[in-house]
């Protein structure tokens, strides 16, 4: 008996796409996401290049597709722990981690109002705090609260239990295991920002005004910790002079030997964030090559024309801090001017690359030398999106759409042949 359902692991833009495309074509789909909300990394982006449009717009359409799609069921706070079987007949063990809030939750916010403890808000890359009972973010889908089990004081506190009029809070909730039978699997667990702290010469983690590109997205977001004001983490001062350091980790044998594909455009986009917030600001981009494929070249050309944007060919050797002012100083060779430069900035943004995030140690998953899901390793299991290779959003969506077809083929293959 060939199972005609598809499991999609990861509900970022790739997983969402693969799941929805397959479901809308008429296949039963299970979508498993480790976070408490769908949307993954893109939900934490402020705008997409080159249109400078908000990711929540497309996510809203995707969530509406999920709302009206009976073929698709999703599990949040859930992780795949084991995969067994073969193409057409996989058995998948999924651990459903406790959310401590059940489906009765109406998102009325009463639990957060009474919760006495705070937790670091990982959605905003720990730049602010939420209560232990919290909504992951304003656009969170599903619109349901979560309790951080590590921060929560538990039943001895229990204030949220009292405050909830809907019996939605279950502080005793335990992890449980769910078994899914599926015919094919799309692995779309995405990427994580390369750990910038490992590039010791750049001072990330030591100098507060050295941030990464993903943090910059939160600083620029109206939903972020600063309400969209781009300020220095050290003193909250509005930034006047910002440097972007490209290939922070990427194209580097000691870190990520590959190119992360999106960082050039991401930094050019973030340059527009800085200039839109403060037209008088100065932006410098230190680069090796500017990689703007296809029509992205137009966006590059547009940003390049901005009088306050300077492109400097050269990879900085070192970043220093002026301990008194908190300013950061970028030391680099300007290769076109053929001189060593030392420039002082309010803020340095490291364009950290994409490291694949294959997630759980599932033995069946074929990973390549760099930890990406390799093509054609296991029949019936398909990588999609940035867990396969670094991709921009539109390319990840295309890739995920193609992975959905591959998965569908797996579920019909034996029927066709048999």
């Amino acid at each position: 008996m060939v199972n005609k359902s598809v499991l999609v692991v990861g509900a970022g833009i790739s997983g969402l796409t693969a799941a929805i495309e397959a479901a809308e074509t008429g296949f039963e789909v299970f979508l498993v996401e480790k976070e408490a909300y769908l949307g993954g990394r893109v939900a934490r982006m402020n705008q997409y290049f080159p249109k400078l449009c908000p990711p929540n717009c497309g996510l809203e359409i995707n969530f509406r597709r999920i709302r009206s799609e009976h073929n698709l069921r999703f599990l949040t706070s859930a992780e795949v722990v084991q995969v067994a079987g073969q193409e057409g007949d996989f058995t998948v063990a999924v651990r459903q981690n406790p959310r401590f809030v059940n489906e009765n939750c109406t998102a009325c916010n009463k639990c957060a109002e009474v919760c006495p403890v705070e937790r670091s808000n990982e959605f905003n890359y720990d730049l602010d705090k939420t209560r232990a009972a919290y909504l992951p973010h304003s656009f969170a889908f599903p619109t349901r609260y979560v309790i951080d089990g590590k921060a929560c004081l538990g039943e001895k506190c229990g204030k949220c239990v009292e405050a909830c009029a809907y019996e939605a809070i279950e502080l005793k909730m335990q992890a449980r295991e769910v078994t899914l039978k599926v015919g094919a699997i799309v692995w779309a667990t995405g990427w994580e920002p390369y750990d910038a702290g490992r590039i010791s010469a750049y001072g990330f983690g030591r100098f507060p005004n050295v941030v990464t590109n993903v943090i910059m997205e939160r600083l620029a977001s109206p939903l972020g910790p600063t309400g969209g004001r781009i300020v220095r983490p050290s003193d909250g001062k509005e930034v006047q002079k910002v440097a972007f350091v490209q290939c922070a980790g990427s194209r580097d044998e000691n870190h990520l030997p590959f190119c992360s594909s999106v960082c050039c455009l991401a930094s050019l986009k973030q340059a527009t964030y800085v200039l839109n917030a403060n037209p008088g600001a100065q932006v410098a981009v230190y680069y090796i090559d500017i990689r703007a494929l296809g029509k992205f070249e137009d966006f590059f050309a547009k940003v390049q024309l901005e009088p306050n944007v300077t492109l400097i060919k050269g990879k900085p050797g070192e970043i220093l801090e002026d301990g008194q002012t908190g300013d950061v100083i970028v030391v680099a060779e300007d290769q076109l001017a053929r001189k060593i430069t030392q420039e002082r900035y309010d803020l340095v943004v490291l364009a950290t690359g994409m490291a694949p995030s294959a997630g759980a140690q599932v033995p069946l998953l074929g990973l390549d030398d760099r930890g990406f899901v390799a093509p054609d390793q296991v029949p019936g299991i398909y990588g999609a999106g940035c867990v396969k290779r670094p991709l921009d959003v539109a390319s990840a969506v295309q890739d995920a759409t193609s992975a959905a077809l591959k998965a569908i083929q797996s579920t019909v293959r034996r029927q066709l042949n048999g």
């Binding site: 495309e21 074509t25 008429g26 997409y48 080159p50 400078l52 449009c53 908000p54 990711p55 717009c57 497309g58 809203e60 359409i61 709302r67 799609e69 009765n104 109406t106 998102a107 009325c108 304003s138 656009f139 619109t143 009029a165 809907y166 030997p257 590959f258 190119c259 594909s261 500017i290 494929l293 296809g294 029509k295 992205f296 070249e297 137009d298 050309a301 290769q335 076109l336 053929r338 030398d369 760099r370 990406f372 390799a374 093509p375 290779r389 670094p390 991709l391 539109a394 390319s395 969506v397 295309q398 759409t401 193609s402 959905a404 077809l405 591959k406 569908i408 083929q409 293959r413 066709l416």
Partner: protein, 732 residues
């Protein structure tokens, strides 16, 4: 007979505390004469939902009006099956969470929303899916290159019949002429055989794929599941029906003859990358001028690309292709001197490791700009260039071969046939190459996005173009390399399959996937004004010779732009129509002038502006309580009669909240918000005739993240209306 309706009011989430729900219930029972009206403190809980379910069954309710939270929440709880109409009245996010509790204006707002919701439920009918005779699910693939072969093969592997059409006598296309392809798998350092030969064999062996070579598409009529396709081979037509179409006609190299400054056409030893590929495939790369061996070669990247005088865009694949060809030379002669002059080396992703390998093989990379190419008496070339890193002019002398990495031009346009004036930098070329020959009122080919590529404008939805059921794939859609084209074509095959599956059930495709409603035309009142046929963003409506609209429901995306365009209001959906919204407006209780409580109707795009209003509520941002929000499928579905309806009802102002339009438009129906803006500009005249101030009608572009700005937009408009004074038609 009137529809059997039940009204259910939730008093949870502060609704009960903030509002007089008894008074609210009386709106339903007394005013609207709905006998069944129940309140529950936790309507979305198990018991609440069960209560509704029981009444649906016991009372035979055809529609339920749920006055509770936003329709974006608890959609699954309040789903009572396909035969029950559900209308949600958003009391939570858009009333009690954004307005003061226990307040006369908040109460009035809630009551109006309930009136409007009941009115809508009364007017709404269950859609009946559009199903035609002889709907088919086979896929037509136009183009037999890598992308077309892939699309055909992948669709067949999922069990679908495919007709593959190729104009040349053989399959394989551009990639079929390649000697090798760049690495596609770990360790990403080794050249590979192209996948084309294997694909051709698979396609030719597949029982589900019918291949037509030396064939072109002469004509395509109809729509998804109903495409009547006429092919032409040797002047002989043949016809069949197809369900969806993948366009994979590929790209052409940019015309190198225009690059004479680089010596092409003047010196035989200046060749294009394509010519080098031919030599490599034939086994010997040599100087074309005299057949002498190649001891050294210079690759010139961006030959035409990234050049405002030629192709302003990047052709995406030339860097990697040139690296590959540099290895051909090294493979043939390890001692050959190979130089690559580049602007930027664009080896994205894992190609970076290939770049490293090519560097290690001894290929020299120079960031520079070529200024001139010349030839000496022995036909050796000399390449002059600015070396940007050394900051000096330099010359490569005694060069055997100069290889131009020419860019890509989509096969759907013909640059050769047009002068520079047809293709000013950054503009879409005007001369189209016929590929599909669609019998569409809005033109025979896919509309181009930019530079002639029929690409999608949507980052989140890269397969969404303006012709439903027709998906462009591969380098015709955007410049791309082999690996990207393979993925793109597989995705396009997926979208084509999905389209035939949805369409054959009468359901819409993206973005209103699954919508079973479709526009119906009351033709007796049509005045042949052509607005619907011109304005449909998807070219869904054809015209007969008398200019009557001929709708093609399977091409329709259900945005309602036609409904908004029609001055005679003859276009309606079963669950969305001009009178329905008109009646909702009329259901608003407009206070007398002396009460000094203006009323504002807000038409809000349901994908962006409406969620932004919800978010304002979720964040408890207050705004003016005079507004009455009506979500619309797209602002383009706004019919101007609604403005008249509002003003004659005594409404003081009308505000349209829609998506950004212009070059970076965000409207998911492409032209909807722009059309609304255009229509609105024409309203000023009408207002003048009625002696009303044009400022009473305003449109603001917002996106979903503008929830923090929306309250200010509403308040600002309300203030302006106070300045203008009340609508003089109030009370008439």
């Amino acid at each position: 007979m009137a529809k059997k309706i039940g009204v259910f009011i939730c008093t949870g989430c502060s609704i009960g505390e903030a509002l007089d729900t008894e008074a609210l219930a009386r709106v339903a029972t007394k005013e609207k004469k709905i006998p069944l009206c129940k309140k529950n403190a936790f309507l979305c809980g198990r018991q609440g939902a069960e209560l509704i379910k029981q009444d649906v069954v016991a009372e035979g309710l055809e529609a339920v009006v749920i006055a509770a939270c936003s329709p974006r929440i608890n959609y699954d709880v309040f789903d009572f099956g396909p035969s029950t109409i559900v209308e949600r009245v958003n009391l939570r996010e858009q009333v009690v969470w954004s307005h003061p509790a226990d307040d006369e204006d908040t109460q009035a707002m809630a009551e109006d929303y309930l009136r409007m919701g009941i009115t809508k439920a009364q007017a709404s009918e269950l859609p009946v899916p559009y199903l035609a005779e002889n709907m088919v699910k086979s896929i037509l693939v136009v183009g037999g290159g890598l992308a077309g072969l892939t699309a055909a093969n992948e669709a067949a592997l999922a069990g679908y019949r495919v007709v593959l059409v190729e104009k040349e006598p053989f399959l394989g296309g551009f990639a079929g002429r390649m000697y090798k392809s760049a690495p596609s798998r770990p360790p990403y350092t080794d050249l590979e055989d192209t996948p084309v030969a294997g694909l051709v064999a698979d396609v030719e062996a597949s029982p589900l794929i019918e291949v037509h070579t030396k064939t072109t598409v002469a004509r395509i009529e109809g729509g998804p599941c109903l495409y009547d396709v006429t092919l032409e081979k040797d002047g002989q037509p043949s016809s069949f029906r197809a369900g969806a179409i993948v366009v994979a006609t590929g790209a052409r190299p940019y015309d190198a003859a225009r690059l004479d400054r680089l010596g092409y056409g003047r010196y035989a030893n200046v060749v294009t990358g394509v010519a080098l590929e031919d030599m490599a495939r034939e086994g010997k790369i040599q100087r074309p001028a005299d057949g002498k061996p190649v001891q050294n070669a210079v690759f010139v990247l961006c030959a035409g690309s990234r050049d405002p005088g030629h192709l302003p865009y990047c052709s995406s694949s030339c860097c990697v292709e040139s690296l590959k060809q540099a290895l051909y030379l090294k493979e043939q002669n390890p001692d050959a001197g190979v130089y690559v002059i580049f602007k930027d080396i664009r080896t994205l992703g894992r190609y970076e490791e290939f770049y490293k390998k090519v560097q290690n093989e001894g290929v020299i990379f120079i960031k520079g700009e070529v200024t001139a190419v010349s030839e000496d008496g022995s036909r050796n070339l000399s390449v002059e260039f600015a070396d940007l890193l050394l900051g000096e002019r330099a010359e490569a002398a005694e060069v055997d071969l100069v290889v131009l990495a020419t860019g890509m031009v989509p096969s759907t346009v013909d640059y050769a046939e047009q002068g520079a004036e047809d293709c000013p930098a950054g503009n879409v070329p005007t001369v189209q190459q016929p590929v599909l020959n669609l019998a569409y009122r809005q033109g025979p080919e896919l509309p181009a996005l930019n530079y002639g590529f029929p690409d999608s404008h949507f980052i989140c939805f890269p397969y969404e173009t303006r012709r439903t059921g027709i998906y462009a794939a591969g380098s015709v859609r955007a410049p791309m390399d082999l690996a990207a084209a393979t993925e793109d074509a597989t995705g396009a095959a997926m979208k084509a399959i999905q389209c035939v599956e949805l369409t054959s059930r009468g359901a819409a495709v993206h973005p209103r996937v699954g919508d079973l409603s479709y526009p119906e035309f009351f033709m007796q009142r049509c005045t042949q004004c052509k607005r619907c046929t011109e304005e449909c963003p998807f070219g869904a409506i054809n015209e007969d010779e008398k200019a009557n609209p001929l709708p093609n429901p399977t091409r329709c995306r259900r945005c309602g732009v036609c409904m908004g365009a029609c001055p005679e209001r003859i276009i309606s959906f079963k669950n969305y129509s001009v009178p329905m919204i008109g009646n909702m407006i009329k259901a608003i209780d407009v206070p007398e002038e002396d009460e000094e409580k203006p009323r504002i109707v807000v038409f809000a795009c349901e994908n962006d502006a409406y969620p932004a209003l919800d978010m304002a509520g979720l964040n408890h941002l207050g705004y003016n309580a005079w507004v009455r929000v009506i979500p619309v499928r797209c602002l383009g579905s706004m019919n101007l009669v609604w403005v008249a309806d509002s003003l004659s009802k005594g409404i003081d102002g009308i505000l349209l909240l829609g998506c950004k339009h212009g070059d970076d438009y965000q409207c998911h129906f492409i032209k909807g918000s722009e059309l609304a803006d255009i229509r609105l500009s024409k309203v000023a005249e009408t207002l003048g005739r009625l002696q009303l101030e044009p400022d009473r009608v305003r449109m603001v572009q917002v996106n979903i993240m503008d929830y923090d700005k929306v309250p200010g937009i509403l308040d600002d408009f309300a203030e302006r209306l106070v300045e203008i004074g009340p609508n003089p038609y109030k009370g008439f």
